[in-house]
Symmetry: C2
Subunit: 406 residues, 2 copies
């Protein structure tokens, strides 16, 4: 079986930072990305933050010759921002939108409006079935006090579960995307441990690019330097992960990242660096074995850690649900009180209306506004509680399964 | 291979109509369902509309001896209402929440708040891997002018896609639930055609129960008789569907429905009738063949029909998005105009404030309210447009794949 031919696959992954009206020099950069991809010989191109469908269509036209197959994943108000271009036919697709993705009232962060998702594309290349996943998880705005950690952990868990459940007929699994997690973060360990995915950077025989494989670096003219102050070399949050499921082996021959400005150009592709991997896929005599017992123990620790974080998120969500519910009830009481006062005046119980009409009306409108808003937020946090609770339960079930394994 | 032992599986499916504060004689009925299930010998129990987690917990306690394994699926504001009880261990679970599920402002229908989903439970029984799905699709409130048809079709499509993508390692697939579609409806044909699932009622060797297998019948004291006027026998909207994926055959030996009051009791379990199937699963020599060419043609017709309906839903959603967007812009203009008037008065441009203060303030609050509401609805319909558009695209891709098959 050693003599079986090897399939060599080149993959390009990039968070394009193509937000209409907001991202700097967007159209110029999208053109640059398109021109580069047309000239280079990547088999698969996984893109994130292509928020504008027009940008996708422009890329599609430009890459019609080199990458005739593509898919754009639609979700949320703004979109998922995910798309994929391929030299090989796409057989099937599926989109899974994460159950939690920040808060609609955090307008300055805006993640909620994006409908963050994982997109799956199925391809058959040289008789090998590939399940290719592209995703983008919730951003991290403050590492020291990360209010979104429980949401990102739910996303990492749902991503892992989605991959496990949908990849059972695949020979090879590939995942590319902006995971918004550092390599040692609990979410990455959970995702990798629960799916068995390997990190192309860690496995690469040859590496070329930013030190430590960083993909958000101070040398890039578009990055926010103040955010990167604690990390002088930058951070690694964009990944290409892979694994072989059936009787195949996958090896990462080479991993590269861009290093600021695109080759021969004055500007970078994006505020993120692109990740480019060259993978070798070969048929093996026998399927790769399941996870070892020692790995199970380490995984159980990771799941426990994640479960604790999700539990803390659950408590915070329950507090929020309670506060907004109480606020809604108070506003309703005030409204009822005012209604009683009006009815009393109409019935001639009081000598005359005791409040100036204007203040009375303003107060009523204020109470109504608070009631509507607080009710909406109470309902939103109720949903959040349900999902966090459900995820915690699933993790507990996973832990039990891990502990019961012989 | 003919001599291989047969596995006999008894399945119980019921929409429990257990809405807290709203459903009649809820607690009495939940107790009755629990008592019956404890005495009967069902291997799998698939329940819908168990909205209260307390009811689930009560059932769990009651069924601890007969059905020691169970799972409750959490989602949405109220919950998914889905749960499963089993005599066999549950190995893994996954929840997929449908992308579209009615409108939050249709409070009288309330589907949006339920987080309608499909739940998957994986089990291994006698060495056979079962993927068991339980679901509940959006209700049909007016059959002649069904505004929710596009949403229900998106759900049927997502259900079919979810089953196809997650069942590849399964030997047998089972689906139970309230699909809110009549047997000949386009959504059922789409689901069955795209997944290859068979209808237990149509395949059953022996049937016993309401005529035509109806599950919402006028004889049930809890059903709304006026809704069933056009259907004197009732309608069939609750299903048990199945298929064998690998080298197994599944046969439905017997299908039963309840017929109003539960045996020996004065009241029915629910406003729906329960569906009970006895399946025979046997190992076969060779895997069952793929869909035939003629079936492909019929399936292409169904997908085309569904695509047309989704396209009409897309147009309606685009119109709604446009109207609410325009309304938001008009409200904003009014607010700006009022702000300009106030500034003008403050700057002493006008001789005096031309409007009475009270009406002016009321108008401003009204404009603000309309602006917030219209913006919210505009965003909601933008999401709806994205999902309908994405589904239409996926259906087009499926059609192309069907037409390109040799």
């Amino acid at each position: 079986m050693e003599g079986e031919p090897t399939l060599r696959l080149q993959i390009f992954d990039l968070n394009c930072w193509a937000i209409r009206y907001l991202s700097k020099r967007r159209q110029e950069r999208v053109r640059l990305i398109g021109d580069t991809l047309r000239q280079e010989h990547f088999d698969l191109v996984l893109l994130q933050e292509v928020w504008s469908e027009q940008d996708y269509n422009d890329l599609k036209v430009k890459l019609a010759g080199s990458h005739p197959f593509s898919h754009y994943f639609r979700s949320g108000v703004i979109g998922s921002g995910l798309c994929i271009f391929s030299r090989f036919p796409i057989l099937d697709t599926l989109l899974y939108q994460y159950s939690l993705n920040g808060y609609p009232y955090m307008l300055q962060h805006g993640d909620w409006f994006c409908g963050k998702s994982v997109g799956l594309v199925i391809m058959k290349i040289s008789g090998i079935i590939f399940n290719v996943y592209v995703t983008h998880l919730h951003a991290e705005y403050c590492r020291d006090k990360d209010a979104y950690l429980p949401h990102r952990l739910v996303q990492a868990w749902e991503l892992a579960q989605f991959i496990r459940h949908t990849s059972k007929a695949a020979d090879v699994v590939l995942l590319g995307g902006d995971l918004n997690m550092h390599p040692e973060d609990v979410g990455i360990r959970l995702l990798r441990g629960w799916t068995g995915l390997q990190d192309a950077f860690a496995e690469a025989t040859h590496f070329e690019g930013c030190k430590n494989g960083c993909t958000l670096v101070p040398d890039n003219c578009f990055t926010d330097k103040s955010e990167l102050l604690p990390f002088p070399l930058g951070i690694r949050i964009d990944y290409i992960l892979y694994k072989a499921i059936s009787s195949f082996t996958v090896k990462c021959e080479e991993l590269k990242t861009t290093t600021g400005p695109a080759p021969g150009m004055g500007i970078p592709f994006s505020d993120h660096e692109a990740v480019m991997a060259t993978l070798h896929i070969q048929r093996q005599g026998r399927p790769v074995g399941a996870t070892l017992g020692t790995a199970d123990l380490a995984l159980a620790d990771v799941v426990t850690e994640a479960q604790t974080e999700v539990g803390m998120g659950l408590q915070a969500a329950q507090r929020q649900r309670y506060s907004w519910g109480r606020m809604a009830v108070l506003a309703l009481l005030l409204l009822l009180l005012q209604a009683a006062a009006v009815l009393g005046t109409l019935a001639g119980l009081g000598a005359q209306q005791p409040f100036p009409k204007l203040s009375f009306c303003l107060l009523a409108f204020l109470a109504l506004g608070v009631f509507v808003l607080a009710t909406g937020l109470h309902l939103f946090h109720t949903m959040e509680v349900k999902i966090l609770h459900g995820t915690k339960d699933q993790m507990r079930m996973a832990l039990r399964a891990l502990q019961e394994r012989p």
